[in-house]
Amino acid sequence: MAGMSDLRVLDLSDQVSGAYASRLLATAGADVTLIEPVDGSSLRSRPPLLTATEPNRSAAFEYLSAWKRGVALDWSSEAGFDALGRLLDQADVVVTTMAAADALAFDRRIRAERPPLIHVSATSYGLTGPWAGWRSSDLTDWAAGGYLYITGDPLREPLQGAGPWASYVGGIASAVGALAALHARRRTGRGQLVDVGTMETMASAHQWSLAMWSHQGRIKHRANNRHAEAHHPVSLMQVGDGWVCIAAPSQAQWINLCVALDLPEMADDPRYATAGLRYDVAEEIDGRFAPFLMSRTRTEVVEHLQAQHVPASAVLSMDEVLVDEQLEARAYWAYPEDLGEGVKMPGVPFVLPSSPTQFKAAPTLGADSASVLDEAGMQREEIESLAASGVIGLSGADCG
C-alpha cells in the first residue's frame, strides 16, 4: 500500500490555514506542489516582509512553503484549467482557501471526473451557514473563535495573539481532515469534500468556557496574565531581569513552590488551600512572592523551581528562542540559506518515519512548473506553448 511519500498534494491555497495544512503534510513526507498565479501567490507579499532581501520576501511565504514544489499556473483560462486538471488527475488531495461560493463551485467542477479526489477547503467560517460568505482577517479570526474576548486586560480592549495563530489552528485541523479522508478512502474508494472553518476549530480549542456557559450560564472574562479566573498561580510574574511563567495549580506543586520560595508557612495557610481560593487573593500572594522573585534572575528562578518539580519557564524573547539550548539540541531548526547566513526557521515540528531528512526551501516562482507538468505527461511543446501564452510561468528568465 501507498505510504506518505506516495501521496500527492496540490496546494492551491493563498491563506495561512491551507498553506500550513499542506506544509504539515510535506513535513510528514507527502509530495506537495504549490500552485500559484503566474504573477505569484498573494502569500508572497504577506507580512512579515524581510527587508534584507531584494525584492522583499515574505517570512510567512518562505516558512509556509518549505518542502513544497512550485508551479505558476493561471487556471482561470480554459487551457490553464485543463493543465490543472492533468495535475488533479494524479493528485490524492487538493487544498484550497478560496471563498465559500468559489470553493463549492470549484468542487463541483473537479469532482465528477475524479471521485477519489479529496478536496480540503480551509476557510474562516466554513462553506455553509449564515456567515459563510463573510469577510475575515487575522484579527476577526481571533474574534470569531472567542479567543479575542478572553485575552488581555479586563479593563482594556481585548487583545489578539501576535501572529495569525487562529488560521494556523484551522490549518492543523485541515491536515487532520485530509488524512482522515484518506483513511476513509481506503475503505470506500471515494474521495470527498472536507470543510474546515477556523472559527469552529478555535471554538473547539477552548479549555472549558463553552461548557461553562451551557452548564452554568457564566461568561468567561479576560484575566490578564493570570489563568482563566480559576487557578493561581498559573501566571506570568516579574522577576529581577524580566518575566517568568510559574504554574502550580495542584496541591503538591503549591507546597513545593512555597518551600522553594522560602515561604513554607504559606503552604499551611487555609486561605491558600486550593488553586481557586488562591486566585481570589492572587495580589496578596504575588506580593509575598515578590521579594524572592525580584532579587533573582529568570534563569535562577526557573532552575530553582524546576528542581522542585514546579512547572516554570522564562518568558523568552523571540531572539532568545532562536538560541534556546533545548530547541538546538533537538535539531529543530531549518536554515534557509537564501534568506541570509545563519537565518533560522522552525523545521519539521515532530519527526515521523516518513519525514524528510533534508531541508528544502520554498520554491521560487515557477521553479517546478516544467518538471511537474512533464511528470504529469505533458509534452515539451505543449509546456512551451502554455508558457508562451502566459498560462504558466517558468523559472529563470521566463519568470515575470
Binding site: G3, L7, G29, P48, A52, A59, E62, L127, S137, D138, L139, T140, A143, G146, Y147, L148, Y149, E157, L159, Q160, A162, G163, W165, A173, V176, A180, H183, V194, D195, E200, T201, A203, A205, H206, Q207, L210, A211, H215, K220, E229, L236, Q238, W243, C245, P270, L277, Y279, M318, V321, L322, R330, Y332, L339, K344, M345, P349, F350, L352, P353, S354
Partner: protein, 444 residues
Amino acid sequence: MAEGMLSGVRVVEFGYAWAGPLVGRTLGDLGADVIKLEQDVSRGGHLPDDPVLRAALDDWRRGEAVEPMLRASVFPDGEPEPEPWNRAGIFNKHNRNKRGLCADLKSASGKKIWRRLVKQSDVIVDNFSPRGVKNLGIDYETVREWNPGIISVSCTGYGHTGPFRQRVSYGPVLEAHSGAASATGYVEGGPMKMGHAFPDPIGGLHGAFAVLAALWERDATGQGCFVDLSQLQTYTSVAGDLVLETSAQGQAPARGNRSRSCAPQGVYRCRDESPDARESMDMWIAITIEDDDAWKRFTILVGDIRLEDDRFRDTSGRFEYHDEIDALINEWTRPQDRFELAERLQAADITALPAMTNGDLVQSAHLRDRGFIVEWDQPGVGVYEYGGFPIHFSDWGPTEMHPAPQLGGDNRQICEELGFSVEEIDGFVADGTLVDQPPLTGGR
C-alpha cells in the same frame, strides 16, 4: 455504533489535562475505538472533608459566591455531588467518544491487563513527562517488545531528548518558553498570555495528525514507530513566520491589535450587555480595513465628516493618524449593538466581527446552522450542550456524540474483550487493580 472513518483502529489514550485527551477525542470523533486509561487519582478525589472548602461549597449552592476552582471544573449548575469525579463539565467535554478503563498499572494484575491491551491496540497516546512515561512502564521500548506494530505518540512539553527533557510544564509555561507570550501584548505593556492554555489544543491537534500519518505509513511498511512530539516545538511552529522574521531582521514584531499591512484595524467598544443577567459587561467588535476602497465604503457607512479627512485617504496616512481614527471609530461603535453592527459592516463588504464570548459561541446561529453545537446525555449529569467536531466531511454523516466514560465505567467490558474470564476480572476488582472510584481523602 455506526461505522466511523477510523473504525477498526484501537487507541489507548493515557492523557491528562488537555493536550493528550484532545488527541484521543479527535480520533474518537473520527470513529476510532479510544480507550481512556486512567488511574484512580486521575480526576482528582472525593470532595475534601475540609471546613474551608465545605463553607465555600455552601456559598456556591446559595449562589452567594463562587469558589473559583469549582467554577473551572464546570459542574452542572454548580453542583458537584454526587460523584464529582463523574460530573465535571471540563472533563466530560474533553473525553466524549471514549471508553473508560481505570486500572493500577503497577500491580501484577495491572501489568497483565496493560500487556494485553498493548498487544490488541494500534496506537498509544500519552502526555506525561519522559520520567512519568518511564515510571508508568508505558514507554516505547517496553511496549514494542509486545507489539512491534504499535504506534506510540508521546506528547511531552519539551520532548524526550535535550537538556530540558525532564522539565515539567503546562501550556502557559510553553507559551512563555516559545516566545509567543513575549510577542503578544499591548503596545506599551509587557508580555501577555492567551485566555486559555493555547499550546494544549495546538499540541493535541498536531498529535492527532501525527497518529493519522503514522497509521498511514504503517499500512505501507508494517512498521510501528515512536513519535516524540514536543509541545514546545508544535507551539513554536505556529509562530514560524515570526521566528523567521526575528532571525532574519534581528528585531521582534510589534505588539498590539494593529495590522502590519493595512489601517485602520482595531477592537472597538460597543454597547455593554448583561448576557448572564448578573452584571453589565463590555462588548467589542473587531474591524479591519484592508485598502482604500474598503476605507471609502466604511466612511460612507459611518457618515462622519471627520473621517473623510484628506489625511486619512491612503494607507500610510491612516497608519500615521491611527490613534485619531481609532478614537472616532470608538465614538461611533460605542452605543451600537455589536451583532447588528457586524451585519451592517459585512453587508457593505467591510471586514468586521464581534469579539465572541463563550455564551455567543454556544448561541451562535451560524455555528448551530453548521451543526457545531451538539448535546449529549451524560450519565448522572443530564443533557447539556457542548462544542462539537470542527471538521465536516461530505461523505460521512455528522460526528456521533457518545458521553464521556464514568471513571472505570467500561472496566469489565474492556477486560472481557481482552479475553479475561469473569473470574479473572473479579480477581482484578478484588485485588484493587480495577477501580471505579477515586481514593478517599481525609483532608485537602
